[in-house]
Amino acid sequence: MTKRLVVILGLFVTAVALLAASAAQAGHRSVKVTNVTFAGWSSGPDEDALDTQMANAFNRTVGAKEGVHVTWQVINGDYGQAMTARFAAHNAPDVFYVDSSVIGSWIKQGVIQPLNGYVTKSHFDTKAFYPKLLGAFEKGKTIYGFPKDWSPLATETNNALLAQAGVKAPRTWAQLKSDAQAIQQKTSAKHPICLSADWARMGAFMYQNGGSITNNLTSSANAQAVNFYVGLIKSGLAYTPPAGSWCGQELGQGHAAIIFEGNWLLPYMKSTYPNTHYGVAPMVHNKKQGNLAFTVSWSIAKNDKNKAAAWKVLSWLVGKQGEKIWMSKGLALSPRKDVPSIGGRKPFLAAAPYAHGWGFGNPNFASAYTVMGNDLNAVIAGSKTTQQMLADVGKALKGK
């Protein structure tokens, strides 16, 4: 009798113990882990390492608490084409880079998730972002992404050549011209300014003359700006970089004394031309201040299956902690007023109030950009007039 009791008690205790254990297990398992991927292109090993660092930081902090595990995925090659295939196959990464020049067309294709609902639900502070930057990813009042970084253009000059000519970095169009003339006369630089045949540089000049790319493209203010830009090249004060090179390389090699490039020039000069001493000044201006903002957002796919988890990741990435890590290498500038950029970036940051997001949210921007580049080359070569180019580009922007 006792033996049977002991056996039954033993079985009972074992059963209870097993039940308790499984209940405890279930309790742990009820915190499900959602896997989220965030992806983008990589401009080099620095960027890749930084993204991985952010992933680890998130997983350790917010991720562990909320049950979200995030992995970074780099996409090589043609980012647009790779993402197109993923959108079409409904297996795009959860959170990904979107360049401001393509956000317009991706919104039109219906592949980007509007974020306003998530913003209100989580009381996300949108005011910390520079309005023009956030605006580059908005359509009306709908937010389609948050800028993760940006860079405008600035004036970079070769210290040696400027000292030789006895001039300082130009601030206005008039100074630009006179400085170039002085350098041309007093130094060996026959064409002191390097100007790319690219609306992604000339566009800033259009805004500086009071013109606009989104509004009345064929205005006389725009035409004047184009004529000034092209005029510098035609008069010999400026030249376009030869095939295979760019103005940054021209500055590094000492061929150009004055160029207009963005923050990306700085890491490039440090690694490729460390012995060329150059200065960075704010972008020149004319009637007004005008600049372009080259900015990339974090966005979520419309067909995403883990939108809530993806939002947790996105909001952290563009939140104070994520941006602090992202800014540590100085690859680009901070889009938030409350997160400082790395040192020495004041000339760039000054442009925040008047830097227009490159792409302007236009859904036809890719094909318009092809027209821009080719037509500008034609104007420089003399086979098209400024008015014709502005008309062509205007039509292309409207999708004609």
Partner: protein
């Protein structure tokens, strides 16, 4: 003695077995040809149909982007001045590169065809550029013809051959004519070797000059080879994509549309504007052009050809 009925019975048995044999042969024939036909059907014929289909819609990344069926994509292509420029560029390119590579190839073949010493060496040397890939050749040529490169250094030029709109077209023509001439040479070589020696002997007996022998006798006898090269290399030229894509670092057509070709307009419509319907329409137009050109060649140069 065999009775008529027996013969007929034997004959009918023979007939059925013959029909059976025919059927079996047909079955095996289809079986053997099935996979190749399926692959070609699936990846050439079906895409052609699919492209024609979506060319009538507004088609984007996720399928139809707007309602409506019609020829609007075709209209857009026809009214696009960039497509017109692309057509002009590819026509200029094709009409320049094909005669050039045929002339070069034929000349090289004539050289090899003579009883010269080191024939194999020369044949290898002349064919060598043809075996390299488009990427390798383009990067090599860009390096040699860069503004401070070997070519300018040797001949005292300072032009940016592949950076100027005015020279880039001819640069691509020259580069591709050079790399294709080797293959053309091989075809002409075989054709030349197929011409019997007595033809030349007859000409020698008449004391015909070498030049006249070539023009009046050899050249006309090469007609089948001419036709073959025109068609094959003509189609190849029309499909130009790799080299300008590498030179312009993309399908931008820079500088100044000098490298804008139909293959680029299609590529840009697909991966720049995400307008798949437009890209399909442009592709169909392109196909019709190639088809038409081939038919014209068949009817003119190839007319003497027995099918």
């Amino acid at each position: 003695m065999v009775t008529p009925t027996a013969t007929r019975a034997a004959q009918s048995r023979f007939n059925t077995s013959l029909r059976g044999a025919r059927a079996r042969e047909a079955g095996w024939g289809f079986g053997f040809a099935f996979v190749p036909l399926a692959v070609l059907g699936l990846f050439f014929i079906y895409p052609l149909g699919y492209a024609v289909y979506i060319s009538f819609f507004h088609w984007g990344i996720l399928g139809k982007t707007a309602p409506g069926t019609g020829t609007f994509n075709y209209a857009k292509v026809f009214h696009d001045p960039i497509f017109g420029t692309a057509l002009k560029n590819i026509a200029e390119y094709t009409f320049a590169v094909v005669p050039l590579e045929m002339t070069l190839g034929l000349s090289l073949a004539l050289v090899i065809n003579q009883k010269i010493r080191g024939r194999n060496f020369f044949r290898s040397a002349f064919y060598f550029p043809s075996i390299a890939s488009s990427v390798a050749i383009t990067t090599i040529i860009l390096y040699i013809f860069s503004q401070n490169g070997l070519f300018n250094h040797l001949f005292g030029f300072s032009t940016d051959w592949f950076g100027n709109a005015s020279t880039i077209g001819w640069g691509i023509v020259s580069m591709n004519a050079w790399t294709t001439s080797g293959t053309v040479m091989l075809f002409y070589l075989a054709a030349l070797q197929a011409i019997p020696d007595d033809v030349y002997e007859a000409a020698a007996l008449d004391n015909t000059s070498a030049w006249r022998t070539f023009w009046k006798i050899t050249f006309p006898l090469l007609r089948p080879a001419h036709f073959f090269c025109l068609v094959v290399f003509g189609i190849g030229a029309l499909k130009l994509f790799d080299q300008p894509f590498l030179i312009a670092k993309g399908a931008s057509g820079a500088p100044n549309y000098s490298t804008m070709y139909p293959s680029f307009t299609i590529y840009n419509a697909a991966f720049g504007s995400y307008d798949f319907g437009l890209a399909a329409a442009a592709g169909v137009i392109y196909f019709v052009l190639i088809f038409g050109l081939t038919v014209v060649q068949r009817l003119t140069v190839g007319r003497q050809e027995a099918a």
